[in-house]
């Protein structure tokens, strides 16, 4: 490469990097703006000019949100539902993935294709019959009702199967020789080998459930049973809108998943690329 071309290449490289940086900041700006606005007192929020930092930062909107809405109850509901769905989904999917990957039984291939095919089915088309089902079971307005239709994540089974497929067959054969029980093999050999993928999948499953809107919105009509994702959009005051308070409720709702992402950034990215069928 001659010197001129190298120089041109570098200048352009610098410009592209700078543009990316500016773009990233602009991209995240609404998030910053939401958080900052939630820290401003009521009169500052509606000032007719842009104020990038609160003059008198305050937590009063948060206190207001926590005391005047049922956000505490919504939090409990969201945590219960998200943790419940995550544990059950991961558990049943792991068992199923293991069976399909390692055991020979009639209907194995059929089950595998059924799971692959259900990938295409849009769950939002099933809302009517999910509602009828959950209503008939008497589970509307309950944690179990919010959880039931969310327990099926074919992706998680698919990822587990692929991971178990990679474990050399010798492990299982050696263990079978040693008279280990099938459950022992799964829990003592296969599971520890795949802790990484289990954590990654658990985190994204938690995030997906926490963020779910349509079904929790339909299956709950009583304010105190709402998840936080639904709750913060359903409650308005008779006396105008308190923007700052709404935003502080939004920050509270987004915080757990944002933190989960920031702490486990690598795991989350891994799980998301895996769930799209790519090895990260």
């Amino acid at each position: 490469m001659n010197a001129m071309a190298a120089k041109r290449w570098n200048v352009w490289g610098g410009i592209i990097t700078a543009l990316t940086l500016v773009w990233a900041i602009l991209w995240a700006f609404p998030l910053y703006w939401g958080v900052i606005s939630s820290l401003k007192p009521d009169d500052e929020v509606i000032r007719p000019y842009i104020e990038l930092w609160p003059e008198t930062p305050t937590l009063e909107n948060y206190i207001d949100a926590l005391t005047t809405t049922q956000i505490g109850a919504w939090y409990v509901n969201s945590v219960a539902v998200a943790v419940g769905v995550t544990i059950i989904t991961i558990f049943i999917s792991m068992l199923c993935g293991y069976a399909i990957s390692q055991l020979r039984f009639p209907g194995r291939i059929a089950l595998w294709y059924l799971i692959l095919a259900s990938f295409m089915v849009p769950t939002s088309a099933l809302i009517i019959n999910h509602f009828v089902l959950v209503a008939n079971l008497g589970l509307l307005n309950s944690w179990a009702g919010i959880m039931l239709p969310q327990l099926i994540h074919p992706v998680i089974i698919i990822v587990y199967k692929q991971f178990f497929d990679q474990v050399p067959k010798d492990f299982r054969e050696a263990a079978v020789m040693d008279n280990a029980s099938e459950f022992g093999i799964l829990f003592k050999i296969y599971m520890p080998m795949n802790w990484g993928v289990t954590t990654a999948l658990s985190i994204v499953c938690f995030i997906w459930t926490w963020n779910a809107f349509l079904w929790p919105f339909l299956s709950v009509t009583r304010t105190e049973m709402m998840t936080i994702t639904v709750g913060i959009t359903q409650v308005n005051d008779a006396f105008g809108v308190y923007y700052a308070r709404q935003l502080s409720a939004a920050v509270l709702a987004g915080l757990p998943v944002a933190l989960a992402y920031l702490f486990f950034q690598r795991r989350v990215t891994e799980a998301i690329t895996l769930s799209a069928g790519i090895k990260g």
């Binding site: 990316t20 773009w23 991209w27 995240a28 609404p30 099938e182 459950f183 939004a250 790519i278």
Partner: protein, 294 residues
């Protein structure tokens, strides 16, 4: 040996049973029921008379259904192609960065994706607020008249599409980054030795090698956006949902607001078939493209 394979079958049954039970109850059964009640005049809860294809025939000259179909298509067009391209551009930019710096920049682009839709809604409702939104200050400053974005018939869907791209781009960016990482460095080094320009390098190397990922992102986006509901519902609060009708919203309105389970199910079946057809078609196209390349 015979005993062994029998225990194996038994164990398999026990392991598969919990998933299968929930799957049959919460997935297969509702799917079958959806098809069944779409041929009846059932209300949301309760049974109805068999009406044959009546619910489907009615859709044919139902202006609201047409609008829902049209708006969904419009929304898909506005999100899928621009969303994929924007994510690709961002991924190309981010992939040049290194180490910790890259992680931070990626996090800035990715954070919106991790947030619940209602948080995204509140943030953008505030940012684009007609009276106090910061975007309106910017418009004032540029001398452009303010627009009540989410109350305007013209701007509603494009604005929701923009917010949706902002919200979901993070996912596509991750996939593109994974794809970019799998392109061997040597190819780029060889291109640099050949004095090829940035654009040629992109067109001749990056774009073709990235094509499988691009089509994957495109498909995932397409299927996701066909199911649009949450954002349209939320931004329509206090507005005119009927103007912004989309397919899933129509299912929701018919079933839950007008108590017409059967007719809602016919709309749901339409959506169901649409998504399945698109998935199958896309899958076939991908396979076809794969074969042609070999």
């Amino acid at each position: 040996m015979l005993r062994n394979s029998r225990t194996e079958r038994l164990v398999a049954l026990v392991l598969v049973a919990p998933f299968l039970a929930i799957y049959l109850l919460a997935f297969v059964y509702p799917t079958v029921q959806m098809f069944r009640i779409s041929f009846t005049d059932a209300p949301l809860i309760g049974t109805g008379r068999w009406v044959g294809l009546d619910n489907y025939l009615r859709l044919d000259n139902d202006p609201m259904f047409r609008r829902a179909l049209w708006n969904t298509a419009y929304f898909v067009v506005m999100t899928v192609v621009p969303g994929t391209l924007i994510a690709l551009l961002i991924a190309l930019g981010v992939s040049r960065l290194k180490g910790r710096f890259q992680a931070i920049v990626l996090a800035l682009f990715f954070l919106p994706y991790i947030l619940p839709v209602s948080v995204v809604y509140l943030i953008w409702d505030w940012t684009l607020n007609f009276q106090f939104g910061i975007a309106m200050h910017v418009l004032d400053w540029l001398g452009i008249p303010r627009v009540p974005v989410f109350k305007s018939r013209v701007w509603f869907l494009p604005a929701v599409a923009g917010v949706t791209i902002w919200w979901t781009a993070g996912f596509s960016i991750l996939l593109f980054l994974a794809g970019l990482r799998s392109i061997p460095m040597e190819i780029y080094e060889a291109a640099a030795l050949d004095n090829s320009t940035r654009w040629t390098t992109f067109r001749r190397i990056t774009w073709p090698l990235l094509w499988p990922i691009t089509s994957l992102v495109f498909t995932i986006q397409l299927i996701l956006q066909l199911k649009i509901f949450d954002q349209v519902y939320l931004f329509s609060i206090g507005g005119r949902p009927n103007d912004n009708m989309v397919l899933v919203y129509y299912v929701f309105q018919k079933a839950f607001q007008q108590n017409q389970g059967g007719r809602a199910a016919a709309v749901a079946v339409t959506l169901f078939v649409l998504v399945v057809v698109v998935s199958v078609l896309q899958f076939q196209l991908l396979r076809f493209a794969e074969r042609r390349r070999r």
